[in-house]
Amino acid sequence: MSHAIAIDALSYRAGQHFAIRDLNMRVPNGAIYGFLGPNGSGKTTTIRLLLGMLPPADGSITVLGHDVPSHAHQALARIGYVPERLHLYPMLTVSETMRYHAAFYAHWDVAEAERLRRAFELREEQRVGRLSKGEAGKLMMLLALAVRPELLVLDEPTDGLDPVVRRDVLTALLEYVSARGATVLISSHLVHEQERVCDWIGVLDGGRLVAEMPMHAFRSGIKRLRIVGAPVSSAPTPFGILARRPGAGREEEWVVRDWRDDMASWFRSTDAALREIVDLDLEETFVETLRAARDASGRAA
């Protein structure tokens, strides 16, 4: 089994319309997979589907080798899950919550849970309902890591937390992954946070996966070019042009994909001068990918 998560031709209906349509997705074993998408693109729905919490209309889902939803309980025993919203009993204390959670998991690591509780500075007798947002976020990560999961599914685990807490939570996650080699699916719209951490990227838009590839391929293929004297109607190019925008003076800005450095020579065969090749960061790459996908589906429609 080379994929921790394999989704084929998945569809899900919410009422009349498709929330997820013909979704194919592969999360390789050992990857830290950044699941990107704008609000409402279907990230949380996809996560609930792959945890067996929603019934698919069509398609197949395999998680850690188990068919979901039919064998979801076997998969869930090996998954640490941090949901989008806190789902804990507010009247329980931190230590009661930890004991309660431990009862459901055969692999619960008492020592690790205690070490994390101290590292996160959570007080044992504190009631969950009175935790700050940051403390609650830390407790959720603690509960997910202490089950010694082979797969961590994190739905916006750090969104809405302050930078100090985000740092603590991510550090704990990465230390765990270093020690255990677990697979991580991390959904977020905090794109720049994923930039350091993820080695795979999937981009969801309107319930479809519009890109899925290793991070370095995602980042390196798309560039912004500053060009002077660009041809009005462009001859066939060896790279794909996602966008052309006017710049300052005679300059034009092209956003291109499938770029390789040796393609700079193409400009010598034209009257245009390539002034600069700008690397896009993950956020810009994400935005350009979305824009291009939407243009393409607009043309198809």
Binding site: I32, L174, S178, H192, R196, D279
Partner: protein
Amino acid sequence: MFDHIDPRSPTPIYAQIAARVRIAVAAGDLNSGDPLPSVRALAGSLRVNPATVVQAYRELERDGVVEMRQGSGTFVGTLSSDARTQTREHEARRLVRELLEQAARLSICPGELRRAIDTELGASRS
């Protein structure tokens, strides 16, 4: 030593980490036998993918800068002063190459560049 790792840089993070170690070794901040941080500690503190740290350490091992010892960690290898000089030369030339590439894109000619370097060197000396 690992401050200013920039995930937005076109230079991959693993290459940035490896470069930091090379520079620290060349500058004499790290000596033969000194331990490097564990993969777990460095991935945690930089908040980067552990595979990225492993990739950096593997590259350094391949180049003879460090030794990865099973179970006990990663250590700076035995270095000659030649190796230090070489690394410094290598880094200096890499910086100049970057400068030349950027200058070429802005159509700055070599004469202009040389004058600018002399001016800046003079300014930093005084």
